[in-house]
Amino acid sequence: MSLKYEDVIEKYEPVLGLEVHVELGTASKMFCGCNTIFGAEPNTQTCPVCLGLPGALPVVNEKAIEYTIMIGLALNCSIAPFSRFARKNYFYPDMPKNFQTSQYDEPICVNGFLDVEIDTDEGIKKFRVEIERVHMEEDTGKSLHMGGATGRIHGADYSLLDYNRAGIPLVEIVTKIVPGTGKYAPEVARAYVAELRDILRSLNVSDVKMEQGSLRCDANVSLRLIGSDVLGTRSETKNVNSLRSVERAVRGEMIRHAELLNKGERVVQETRHFQEDTGLTRSGRSKEQAEDYRYFPEPDLVPIVPDAIWIETLRAALPEKPSTHRKRLQEAWAVPDKEMASMINADVLEIVEETVNLGADPTKARGWWLGEIARIANEKEVAATDLPITPKDVAEIVALVATGALTDKLARQVIEAVIAGEGRPSEVIEKRGIKVVSDDGALMVAIEKAISAQPDVAEKVRGGNVPAAGALIGAVMKETKGQADAAKVRELLLKHLGQ
């Protein structure tokens, strides 16, 4: 029986630390001209440089530096007038040179912050997450260990190596420790990654797809007794591949740490791997004995000394901040805080905006994405934005409802069908023969039929009990297979019964 979250936060204060790796969307790799297309045939996007062949030398991708400076500026960092690459030395088969070219004690961006908002029972709460550094490095290749019980390098029969990813530019964004989030720690962690993702997307520097690994989060969590200022031992959870997982991983680790501490045991400083299926973490590499990476300045590269004018040009060209953009939308659409928070939480704000941009009424668009579509997404356990229904489809449906060509009920049928792959809304309507019955004559036939089937109800309505009409309207709707406009039926029925 695991400890309740409420009991954890009553006794302990969580301290967060978040490291986010972002694959930059540059056309070529960090130190060579190879392509960076996701999902290409293994080892087809390689050259002497990214394979680490003897004699090959790196040349820094200028675009990667530009993107990193943009990220630093968007995160309110200072841009270092002088920064350097360093070599991080360790052996692993998927690392061609057996050292990673990274930045160590001289990163390009330092000391920034990112403000995040979360929706709580006590209203919207704001937290400032301080950024320690933003630095560049190269990604490693990928290993696939075949055979053996664990899928790890030890005990494998053989290993397959794909170096397409080796040398893809990565930016690592590291927060300072984040204290003071209390019970909201999991939500703050999630909101931070979401906000960061939105910023990166607005900068157009990465496709920020967590499920493809182009944005990866490592969550560091430690607990300390409330009132104490001594930091606890932290664990570092890797492999957190969705926003939901970030929240789950932090909550899960808080509970796990608290259980250990309550039993008088100690938390081991280690890497842990998040398991999507269980929401738990499993133990990875111990970090009790700090690994010695023997960092030293990369002698094959010259220091990065960005021109001050260039930095100011990049600063001036930064797009609107996602938070400002959201405020603007909220005002334009007249959305209450709670509703805005729901959209953000459900991660549909952007798709709603696209739908609105296609002409849909903001309230209606939001209603569909947060309502019927979110419900189906929930059922299927996927994100609403991953369902095969587009903002264009929804805008079309909203328009059809507005003109009376669809009722809300019919619209739901159309949405289901579009998601089921039956085609675009117009095709679904055509194929299924969906149409609103608005012909008064046809409706009157159905109304007469309903009245004769339930004469006592009809009598009540005639006697002034208008709410009783619901049963009759229901019967008419059933008779017309939902294709009637319920408002129209109600109007005709009440008139017919003298109301």
Binding site: N89, N98, R294, V302
Partner: protein
């Protein structure tokens, strides 16, 4: 005098005049290699077919009246640390046995563009670590002056190929003296260009911040012609200098030291230097003074620490540079069997693939970079490096060039210092400061030492990107010495006996 005894520029004239063809010239050198290399062992690989094809192409271009580079059709020996597409490149190590690189180094691309004929790959100390070429996994190279002696190192194969008339030109690389010290002990000329003056792309790295490829020849002018062919900015090497190449060939043709200030480094003479080497050095100074140069003594007090600092920086960088040799992608693979993990294969391969000196330096460098030791070792060594640079900067405010003996002694016997790494390291005491400061240096023959009748080297050093000064002074001294000797020093090469 047969064609192979000529200088490269004389060969170039003969080609231009139609006296010979590149194919004939190349074949003559291939024949010479076949004749003497079983004794010298300068070459690890001879690319007979490729060389003749390149020669035929050069002849064809000449026949078609194309505008050719000054060295078009001239054969050259390439140090085996420089990659050439499709040609085995071992770096003198068992680790890379059988590896054929899929790409050309920039130096090779430039040689190809100039229609230089690459004869093959020359022997070297494993991964350029050594001063005798005894550390090659493929056996030592023998000095053509005396086959029982070392030809210097690490580029002993390149220098020996010149002294044995197996090639008129060669490419070397110099991290702490690997071009200049072999030149000194074989009676040939070698230049370490300014760091960044010649691209390192495709030079298998030993110590990235010190490595520099450069030209080797039998005359100052030949060396200059080769230097100009391979120099220049390369966008593939981030440390390459983006500035025009100095007028090297013009300087080699000038050779005028009148009014020039030449500084003799106090710290690079005296104790530890062989008397005969010092005698030849002092005679050379007198000749230069006779030509109108002003000779002054300068002190570079931090040179005392250069060797110690070098043996921290170079091994540190090498420990990282050589990490890539792990059996995963190229080279030999040891112990690969089901149930043996990749990590174990890496360990087994590195155990077998690397020789003793390489392992010694990897261990030294790994230690120097370890956390807790970094500041004391690597950090301090970098500070010394800055101080050495300042020593040079100060000296160059007073003089135009600096000079010293290239190596403290003439060629020693094979095996003599094999078990004493410190004695071996001391060979480079006069050459290392140049690499530490990133400036340029030349070695040219100053004569034969009295004790052993073996060649001694004279070193000239100039500020970064002032490589032309080396050639100007070198040419003046060479001319003066030649008139004193009456014949090039290499006419005395005795080790090959009747065959020479």
């Amino acid at each position: 005098m047969t064609m192979i005894k000529k200088s490269a520029s004389e060969m170039a004239d003969a080609l231009a005049n139609g006296e010979t063809t590149s194919v004939a010239l190349t074949q003559a050198h291939l024949d010479r290699i076949a004749e003497v290399d079983k004794d010298v062992h300068a070459f690890l690989y001879v690319d007979t077919e490729g060389a003749l094809a390149q020669a035929a192409l050069a002849d064809k271009k000449r026949a078609a009246g194309e505008k050719l580079s000054p060295l078009a059709g001239i054969p050259l020996a390439l140090k085996d640390v420089m990659v050439q597409k499709g040609i085995p490149t071992t770096c003198g190590s068992k680790m890379l046995e059988g590896w054929r690189p899929p790409y050309d180094s920039t130096v090779v691309s430039k040689l190809r563009a100039a229609d230089v004929v690459i004869l093959g790959k020359t022997n070297m100390d494993e991964f350029a670590m050594g001063s005798s070429t005894e550390n090659s996994a493929y056996g030592p190279t023998h000095n053509p002056w005396d086959l029982s002696r070392i030809p210097g190192g690490s580029g002993g194969g390149s220098s020996a190929s010149l002294a044995a008339f197996e090639a008129p030109l060669a490419i070397g690389t110099d991290t702490g003296g690997s071009i200049r010290q072999p030149a000194a002990v074989t009676g040939t000329v070698g230049v370490k260009p300014t760091y960044g003056g010649v691209s390192r792309y495709g030079l298998v790295a030993f110590s990235s911040s010190l490595d520099q490829a450069g030209p080797c020849g039998r005359t100052v002018l030949d060396t200059a012609l080769l230097h100009e062919t391979i120099a220049g900015h390369d966008p593939k090497d981030s440390t390459s200098i983006n500035a025009p190449v100095p007028a090297i060939v013009a300087a080699a043709k000038n050779g005028n030291v009148k009014g020039l200030k030449i500084g003799v480094i106090k710290e690079l003479q005296g104790e530890g230097y062989q008397t005969g080497v010092l005698n030849r050095f002092n005679e050379s100074l007198e000749l230069l003074a006779g030509l109108g140069a002003e000779i002054v003594e300068v002190s570079c007090s931090y040179f005392e620490y250069a060797l110690a600092a070098y043996y921290l920086i170079a091994p540190s960088e090498c420990s990282s540079n050589l990490a890539r040799f792990d059996a995963m992608r190229y080279g030999i693979r040891v112990g690969d069997a089901s149930g043996v993990s990749a990590e174990e294969v890496m360990n087994l391969t590195r155990e077998v693939g690397f020789g003793r000196e390489v392992k010694r330096r990897i261990i030294l460098g790994t230690y120097a970079l370890s956390s807790g030791y970094y500041d004391a070792y690597y950090g301090s060594a970098q500070k010394v490096r800055t101080l050495i640079k300042q020593d040079f900067d100060n000296a160059f405010t007073k003089v135009d060039v600096l000079v010293s003996p290239t190596a403290p002694t003439t060629a020693f016997k094979i095996g003599e210092k094999a078990d004493d790494p410190i004695a071996m390291y001391l060979n480079d005491i006069a050459t290392i400061p140049v690499n530490m400061a990133g400036i340029c240096g030349m070695s040219l023959p100053s004569g034969l030492a009295d004790e052993d009748n073996l060649p001694a080297g004279f070193q000239i050093m100039a500020p970064a990107m002032k490589d032309d000064r080396l050639y100007n002074v070198g040419a003046a001294l060479e001319t003066a010495l030649l008139s004193k000797w009456g014949a090039p020093i290499l006419s005395h090469v005795s080790g090959l006996g009747a065959r020479a």
